[in-house]
Amino acid sequence: MSAAALVFVIDDDPSVRSSLKFLLSTVGLQAETFESADSFLRRKPTDIPSCLVLDVRLPGLSGLDFQRELAGRNICIPIVFLTGHGDIPMSVRAMKAGAVEFLTKPFRDQDLLDAVRVALGRDRARREQDKEVEDLRQRFDTLTSREQEVISMVVAGMLNKQIAAELGTAESTVKVQRSRAMEKMQAASLAELIKMIEKVKPSKEAS
């Protein structure tokens, strides 16, 4: 397992915290423990793949409330819930809200480790995806506005001739702009370019 990962454990019981940290260490996972949601929130965000092992029953805020709050703050971190006694409605709510797993204490060690692994995998994937989108966006930003215009028309399925007519330029100019844009985006083919733009566009439009 990759060392470049971090598991955050939030539980009000010190025994549970330290034993979890110990357990995670046996599979080479680094863990940071917190006794409350607040102390976790005070920690500055990490930029390596991470997940949260969270007790449902927390002092003050309940684990489910905390899950909601994280979502509200736009913090996407996969959560593995632990509970002293779980009832079905509670676990359903947690899972619906995007929890990776809902484990009832005491749990099997393997179940926890599997859940953590899944959680970290999800986070890693998300981060990679974020990074790819970020890369593409940076590349996209290097295009001139005319190139961007041309590219979006290309992606929309317009022919060079049509684009030239639309923009009131020569077809040869469009061709040059198009190939320069492909080059800047590092797209080998039109198909690849389309995929790239699709990834960039939504976040582009959102921003």
Binding site: G84, K105, R108
Partner: protein, 759 residues
């Protein structure tokens, strides 16, 4: 020898000189050249009161005033040596000791006798000039006084001769005209003043000279500080022949007074204006009670034109009933100075011309002019004010009635916290009188233990202006019992935020408080009994508490196993893990022990209980829940009161659990009545059967399943209640089971052996 002496001698011839001397009315002595007296006549002796013997020789000189003796002697000697006639003035003492001025002179020289005595004798006559002398002194004094008057007069006074030359000018003249004594003496106006000015002065001089009578004139002169107006009189001075020999003048500068006069006129004018335009009526009357003046407001207020009132008696403005009183009082005042009414702002009734009576406020002033008293009254129509007052009084009355009829104890206090009013209810309640509650008197009714905190709270409220609220025990007069009351008060503030008053209420909440206490006790009881129903929540917390150490134990164990599998378990890591496992294991068992203690509790305390009574008690405890959930209860209890031997609390817990379950089973029911049937019966074997039946959602097919631990249909239940209830009943030698109710709901029943039978 002078002629006089000679004459005397001539006349004396043939006369007895001694007789002559004695008969003349003057004081006469016959002196020898050395000044010694040889003889003095009777008049002398009588005047001085001395005998001839005493006067003889130089003794007579003792009658001369000591201050004059020396001058007298010098004069005498001079006369002897030079032959000058002797004459001097000196004071001589009269018999009564008073000194009189005398002119003492030689009357006759008697030549030495031819035959006998050798010396020349001189007859000296002393003439009493006291009167004359004193008149001269008086004249001199009067001259000085006159001079002082002239010199100190603020008017200019002067005297000119017929030719216009100044003979005299007083100090003011010289000051005002800026002229010195030397400059003015003997000069004419032409020489002293500019021509224009001089001709003005001379014109009036001429008038006096021509008319020969005093004239008065007003003249304007230009002086350094501007124009001055003067008034003056000039008058002729006549000699004994009736001819004018001089002109006298008195001139007074009235510039300043003129200014004052105009100021005075201005003030008078202002006063007149004030009186004329005053909205109050101003009326003056004289000592006879007749109106002498009335201002225009008289028209507005009384309906009289001011002029038609002049001369009428003041009583015209009064209603009939007051007239007599006024006249008597007024006469008494004139006679004794005693006032029969207050002269400042007295409220009286007045009479309008149209016969309407109306309230007025009158102030009087008195002025004495030329020995006559004038009374001026300022009369204000206060009908509107009175009406407003009446209205206010009426509203106050209403308010007062309201506060007296309102079924609550009310009180008010002034800003400093002293109580100034309580309604009748307070007085009735406390048995205090109106006077007794005043100030801090109400404190008497406060229970000894509450006085301090009460007065502290009240003082704090008064000083901070915060609303006041305090519970205290108050002595009720009716039964001499202290009862819990609550007093509340709010401050009334004026526009500036200053507290004017406090308004407060007192409420007897004794009954309410007792009910509250009873309710609290019931709730405590409910809490105690419903311990079992909260079992579910408790179990959740127990589970959490037990699971925490268990989780730690398994985590630590699993971790060790993993490391062991890798052959990488180091002894010190293992040791620490094992230590933690032991600690957590101990912790878990402690939690378990606590749970056991809770569930098992102390061994049941059994006693003989009336089951119906228990049912009623529990229904009472649950009444709030039943009511809240709109559940109807139908009880069907045995007529007799079957006794069971049981632990009261445990039995209550089981029953409450069944009832609460029944209620909860019906919360979702909306299409049919929510009814809870509770029944007690005695079965064939004499056991008591209690059943609780609901019209709720029912149990489904497996009627025994609810008794399985941790079975629950509730979102917040642990499924422990029925399982525990069953074990409790079984511990009492009974059974607890459930059946489906028809058509809806469930029936839970339990049996308990009747008391007397051993379980």
């Amino acid at each position: 020898m002078d002629a006089e002496t000679q004459t005397a001698r001539d006349r004396g011839e043939g006369l007895d000189l001694r007789t002559l001397i004695e008969t003349i009315p003057a004081l006469v002595v016959c002196a020898l050249p050395d000044g010694s007296v040889e003889f003095a006549n009777r008049a002398w002796q009588e005047f001085t009161g001395g005998s001839l013997q005493q006067l003889k020789g130089s003794g007579w000189q003792t009658a001369i005033h000591p201050e004059d003796v020396r001058g007298f002697a010098e004069e005498w000697n001079a006369s002897l040596s030079t032959g000058k006639p002797f004459a001097t003035e000196a004071r001589m003492r009269r018999a009564d000791g008073q000194y009189h001025w005398f002119l003492i002179r030689k009357a006759l020289a008697i030549p030495p006798d031819q035959g006998g005595d050798s010396s020349l004798r001189t007859l000296i006559a002393c003439e009493d000039i006291n009167e004359r002398k004193q008149a001269a002194v008086r004249l001199h004094q009067s001259e000085i006084q006159l001079q002082a008057f002239f010199e100190n007069s603020p008017s200019m006074i002067f005297l000119k001769d017929r030719e216009g030359r100044y003979l005299y000018a007083n100090r003011e003249f010289k000051r005002a005209r800026r002229i010195t004594e030397e400059q003015i003496n003997g000069k004419t106006d032409n020489e002293l003043f500019p021509a224009e000015q001089a001709s003005v002065f001379q014109a009036s001089d001429r008038q006096v000279l021509e008319a020969g009578v005093p004239i008065e004139f007003e003249q304007v002169t230009i002086q350094k500080d501007g124009q001055h107006t003067s008034i003056g009189q000039k008058f002729p001075l006549l000699n004994p022949d009736g001819e004018i020999y001089a002109i006298g003048g008195i001139v007074t500068d009235i510039t300043e007074r003129k200014r004052e006069e105009s100021a005075h006129r201005y003030i008078e004018e202002s006063h007149r204006l004030i009186v004329e335009t005053a909205s109050d009526c101003v009326v003056s009357m004289d000592e006879t009670g007749a109106i002498r003046f009335a201002n225009p407001s008289t028209m507005k207020i009384f309906g009289y034109d001011p002029t038609e009132l002049i001369g009428k008696p003041l009583t015209e403005l009064m209603p009939e009933f007051m007239r007599k009183m006024h006249e008597t009082g007024f006469r008494r005042y004139l006679a004794t100075g005693q006032r029969h009414i207050n002269w400042q702002g007295t409220e009286l009734t007045a009479l309008r011309k149209n016969g309407e009576e109306f309230p007025v406020e009158i102030s009087f002033g008195e002025l004495t002019r030329d020995g006559h008293k004038v009374f001026t009254g300022f009369i204000r129509d206060i009908s509107a004010r009175k009406k407003a007052e009446e209205k206010l009084r009426a509203s106050e009355r209403t308010l007062r009635e309201l506060t007296e009829t309102i079924p609550q104890m009310l009180w008010s206090a002034v800003a400093d916290g002293a109580v100034d009013y309580c309604n009748q209810r307070v007085l009735d309640y406390t048995g205090l009188s109106k006077e007794q509650v005043q100030g801090a008197g109400w404190m008497k009714t406060v229970h000894r233990d509450d006085i301090e905190s009460m007065s502290r709270a009240w003082t704090a409220a008064v000083s901070s202006g915060e609303p006041f609220q305090r519970e205290f025990r108050c002595l009720r007069a009716a039964d001499r019992a202290y009862r819990w009351c609550i007093s509340r008060a709010l401050p009334l503030r004026d526009q500036s935020g200053q507290i004017i008053k406090w308004f407060g209420t007192v409420v007897d909440l004794h009954d309410w408080k007792e009910a509250q206490q009873a309710l609290q006790m019931t709730q405590a009881e409910l809490a105690r009994v419903s311990r079992l129903t909260t079992m579910g929540e408790l179990a959740a917390s127990i589970a959490h508490e037990v699971n925490q150490p268990l989780t730690a134990v398994t985590n630590n164990g699993s971790a060790c196993l993993r490391l062991l599998a890798n052959s990488s378990l180091e002894p010190q890591v293992l040791r620490r893990a094992l230590e933690e496992i032991v600690a957590d294991g101990t912790r878990a068992s402690a939690v378990i022990a606590r749970i056991r203690a809770f569930i098992k509790k102390a061994p049941a305390e059994t006693s003989e209980l009336d089951i119906n009574e228990i049912i009623q008690e529990v229904l009472a405890l649950a009444s709030h829940e039943l009511h809240k959930n709109q559940v109807l209860v139908e009880c069907q209890l045995t007529r007799t009161s079957p006794l069971v031997r049981a632990d009261r609390v445990q039995l209550q817990q089981v029953l409450l659990n069944l009832i609460m379950n029944g209620i909860e089973a019906m919360t979702a029911i909306a299409d049919r009545p929510r009814i809870l049937w509770v029944r007690s019966q005695i079965d064939n074997s004499g056991d008591v059967i209690v059943s609780v039946r609901d019209s709720g959602i029912g149990l489904g097919s497996d009627t025994d399943r609810p008794f399985t631990p941790f079975f629950t249909t509730k979102a917040e239940g642990m499924g422990m209640g029925l399982s525990i209830s069953r074990s409790l009943i079984e511990n009492h030698g009974g059974r607890l089971w459930s059946t489906a109710n028809s058509p809806h709901g469930a029936v839970f029943s339990f049996t308990l052996p009747a008391a007397g039978e051993s379980p």
